[in-house]
């Protein structure tokens, strides 16, 4: 505990006494004060250059009281420092869904299901213990646990679940986008204290998986109402405060700087590891190199979004290691199907065969995995043997180019990528080199992200080629509806960056709509495989590579589980004794 009052140094105190006794003139007193102050400042600066002493027991590394620690030889709970690349703009459970928001919301709030059990992602129960769906997949009933309690002691009831979903649907912000096509406010009701029923607008067989992916944080309606301002349903308060039942609570919230969460020792689900964390600090370090430096200097225990260049440096440093896992972050080169020459099927196939995929993997030091179809491995029913597979083959490329009006080349294509992303630039340079062999010039067009999103709105403004990344989660329907369903872009408000190939195929549209209502897993598998087959045959864009999630950490960090996402589940972690 620090004092709130200034404590003058003994020299300063003596000076003041002498001045008050009249032993010093005002001028001499001021001169001496300046001299002593200057000396103190110099001493402070010199002392500051020394490494900091270990934080005091009252600091945030402070272990939990002995009574709280696990029995036996389990390490005492400690504070973990996590270096994140992204700030947490808000934690309102009905607002945005950035990875940083999701990562911290999972620690503060519970949801119906959890997804952090490993890879590929199994649906695990959280507040929901069991569920059942009607035969036509329009009505779903969820049975809740009676053990869950909010941090203020209130029980987590069906009413809270209903309120949380309805609030999100009412707000119509980013978090609602995933469920709004299936559910409206009136379709959710509390049957009793422990049962929630959801009636969908139209059938959806993968609904529980969608809810697990959506991760609606369950908020305490009573706390929200207590903090309501002008009918905002607690929106202003919930931006920086929580009303949840998760394994952590907020201790400090310093926007743009750092966020400190503290464990709830008697969390209703318990703690899955040998020990647990006392809490964690989400420290923002935006520069990749700085995260590596901070990790190896011991300033942080874990760092996300490690550069592939830094993997070996970290892995070769004793006491540290890197977790490199491939999830669902898939990189595509989208081709504008409504604009010549990429509207020509043979021209798209020409590019697909001209692309040197292996060269890209080599450029990335092997830290990329080539895709084997339009959706990445890990998505249910992904078919690694779907045909045709496109690999670098200049003869086949030439065969297809010869079937287009541009067989002699002499044309230019724009390749758009995000300014400053080296791996996207490298991909463009490979295309530039390979297409140059056919007298086709590739213009490298770097753009900042907002400009890219704007360009992707309509086919008229969409570039010939654009490098984008998509992660639609472990729900096959999402991958197809978000990228190749024509109604996702052929509308007044245009499309998103995911639909930037502006693909239109009535057969695919129908299959996507059928997939949505398919309940039988065999039927789902058949449709998903058929869709993959069509997309590979029509090749609206190149499915190129999956990038790994790379997290560097101290060897003392235990309990890490990869579950397909960049986010870390702090609930499962603990720190071993150094």
């Amino acid at each position: 505990m620090t004092s709130n009052h200034p404590k003058p140094s003994p020299q300063m105190r003596a000076l003041v006494d002498r001045y008050l006794r009249g032993e010093l003139s005002r001028r001499d007193f001021l001169r001496t004060v300046v001299a002593v102050g200057g000396l103190t400042a110099v001493q402070a600066i010199l002392a500051a250059c020394a490494p900091a002493a270990p934080p005091s027991a009252g600091g945030q590394t402070g272990a939990a009281p002995a009574a709280e620690t696990a029995a036996g030889s389990a390490p005492e709970p400690k504070m973990l420092i996590y270096a994140a690349s992204q700030d947490i703009p808000t934690i309102d459970p009905s607002d945005r869904t950035d990875y940083s928001i999701g990562a911290v919301s999972r620690q503060l709030y519970d949801r119906l299901f959890r997804f952090e059990g490993g890879w590929p992602q199994p649906i695990e129960p959280c507040i929901c213990e069991s569920y059942e769906g009607s035969d036509d997949a329009t009505e779903w009933t969820f049975h809740l646990t009676d053990k869950a309690v909010f941090h203020n002691g209130d029980p987590v009831t069906a009413e809270a679940v209903v309120y949380s979903y309805q609030r999100t649907l009412r707000f119509q912000k980013q978090r609602s986008s995933l469920i709004a096509p299936f559910l409206d406010e009136g379709g959710i009701e509390a049957v009793d204290d422990r049962t929630v029923r959801m009636v969908l607008k139209s059938p959806f067989g993968d609904f529980p998986r969608l809810l697990a992916f959506h991760e609606q944080p369950i908020v305490n309606p009573r706390q929200v109402k207590e903090h309501e301002q002008g009918g905002d349903e607690g929106a202003a308060w919930l931006t920086e405060n929580e009303a949840g039942s998760g394994p952590f609570v907020i201790k400090e919230w310093e926007p743009g700087n750092r966020y400190v969460l503290e464990a709830v020792p008697d969390y209703w689900q318990g703690w899955p590891g040998e020990s647990r964390l006392a809490g964690f600090v989400w420290r923002i370090i935006r520069e990749t190199a700085d995260r590596r430096i901070a990790l190896l200097a011991g300033e942080v225990d874990m760092a996300d979004t490690i550069s592939t260049d830094d993997i070996d440096i970290i892995a070769n440093t004793p006491g540290y290691h890197v977790e490199e896992n491939f999830g669902l972050l898939a990189g595509y080169v989208k081709m504008n199907n409504q604009l010549e020459p990429t509207s020509d099927l043979h021209f798209r196939k020409f590019i697909a065969y001209a692309m040197d995929y292996e060269a890209l993997v080599n450029v990335l030091g092997g830290h990329a995995k080539l895709m084997t179809g339009p959706i990445p491995e890990g998505v249910p029913y992904q078919d690694p043997n779907v045909q045709p597979q496109y690999r670098h083959d200049l003869e086949k490329a030439k065969e297809h180019l010869d079937q287009t009006p541009w067989k002699d080349g002499g044309i230019e294509l724009d390749y758009v990528y995000v300014t400053g992303l080296d791996f996207e630039e490298q991909l463009g340079l490979i295309l530039l080199e390979q297409l140059g062999k056919f007298n086709i010039k590739v213009n490298m067009v770097p753009k900042v992200w907002p400009d890219m999103v704007a360009a992707c709105g309509q086919p008229e403004t969409g570039p010939h080629l654009i490098n984008i990344f998509v992660d639609s989660g472990p729900i096959p329907y999402n991958w197809f509806v978000e990228q190749w369903y024509s109604k996702s872009w052929d509308r007044d408000t245009g499309g998103s960056f995911q639909t930037c190939d502006f693909y239109k195929n009535p057969e695919v549209d129908t299959l996507v709509e059928t997939l949505r209502g398919a309940v039988d897993p065999a039927e789902q598998e058949r449709i998903v495989k058929e869709l993959q087959q069509i997309i590979m045959e029509e090749i609206p864009g190149l499915p190129v590579y999956v990038l790994p999630t790379i997290i560097g950490m101290s060897d003392n960090v235990k309990g890490y589980v990869f579950y397909g996402d960049i986010s870390v589940d702090f609930w499962r972690l603990w720190l071993a004794d150094a």
């Binding site: 808000t90 709004a180 400090e252 704007a454």
Partner: protein, 338 residues
């Protein structure tokens, strides 16, 4: 006209400056390509969700109406809300400005405390080795790209020597100090919390040194030149002839006369730095308004961009006014309003 009328006139002149600034920023922010609403709504947003967000922020109205409504809010102290996180811009400015102010104050203090003695030494030892060293250091400081130097300092002091933190404003392992002014070094001093003061100072050193270099180099070279100029004047010869010690001539008479141009330059640099420390704040993850401005610009978040521009513009004009008034302290012959 008395001094207070002069100040009043200068303060009133700030109004058209800010109105002009707001029109330019508003126009530029709307003309750049990109749709911030779509960006904020996310890739899965339905047309209805996008439209609702557009209406919520009044972006569906004609540009002139949008501008007038924005300015009406400004007059009531409301700088709008961020599209990306919904925070009121005034809240964010209050939150981020102290970090920038602390960085700029300390960097200017470094520039003044090292620059003035450096200039005096360079002038006294004109064309001898201290002057040459000062010249090389000053030119080197100006020539080096500031972000490159920042990264080099991080590599040396954080990675290799491990004596200073790589970035941030405070140690993540230590309890965050209680804030009074928001200037952590000052707050910890006021509370007599030396441990936290030391931590705050360690985090401040590298960014402040990088931030100070331009002002330090300019102060050293400009002031040296002005001191040499003043040393040639008649009153200095007269003082020497009267046997006044050289130390008193230099520090009491010459320096005071030579400082006017330097004060003007430092005032300008101070105002400029309050809105222009984007590079340093980005490299060092310093949570100030420079970083806030950059993040807002990258997401085309209109209202924070407008708010930051107006706020920095206001600060800049006030600092310039303060600098002009300070001339009178340095040279009693300068009197405004007569």
């Amino acid at each position: 006209m008395q001094l207070r009328y002069y100040i009043l006139r200068r303060v009133l002149l700030i109004i058209p400056v800010l109105v002009g600034l707001s029109i330019v920023t508003f126009t530029v922010a709307r003309l750049v390509p990109g749709d911030p609403v779509k960006l904020a709504a996310g890739p899965r947003a339905s047309p209805e969700e996008i439209q609702r967000l557009r209406e919520e922020f009044g972006l569906d109205k004609p540009l002139v109406v949008q501008y007038l409504e924005y300015m009406r809010g400004v007059l009531q102290g409301d700088l709008g809300r961020s599209l990306m996180n919904g925070h009121p811009v005034t809240t964010d400015l209050r939150r981020y400005f102290p970090a920038t102010l602390e960085l700029v104050l300390v960097s200017m203090a470094i520039a003044v405390l090292l620059g003035i003695p450096g200039a005096v030494i360079a002038a006294v030892y004109r064309d001898r080795w201290p002057d040459q060293v000062s010249r090389v250091l000053a030119l080197g400081s100006i020539s080096m790209p500031i972000f490159w130097l920042a990264i080099m300092l991080q590599l040396i002091f954080a990675q290799h020597l491990r004596v200073l933190p790589v970035s941030g404003r405070f140690d993540a392992r230590a309890p965050y100090p209680e804030t009074i002014t928001g200037l952590l070094t000052l707050d910890t001093l006021l509370q007599g919390d030396w441990t936290s003061f030391r931590i705050a100072l360690r985090h401040l050193l590298l960014p402040a040194i990088c931030q100070s270099l331009l002002a330090l180099a300019l102060t050293t070279r400009f002031l040296r030149s002005d001191i040499l100029d003043v040393l040639q004047r008649d009153f200095v010869r007269m003082a020497r002839a009267n046997g006044i010690p050289e130390r008193i001539i230099l520090f009491k008479y010459v320096l005071k006369n030579a400082m006017i141009a330097t004060v003007s330059m430092l005032g300008f640099l101070f105002g400029y730095s309050l809105g222009g420390s984007v590079l340093i704040e980005t490299v060092f993850d310093w949570p100030g308004i420079g970083l806030y401005a950059m993040n807002s610009a990258l997401t085309l978040d209109f209202q924070p961009i407008m708010g930051i521009t107006l706020f920095v513009g206001l600060l800049f004009t006030l600092v310039n006014l303060g600098t002009d008034l300070f001339y009178g302290v340095l040279d009693p012959r300068i009197r405004y309003g007569r």
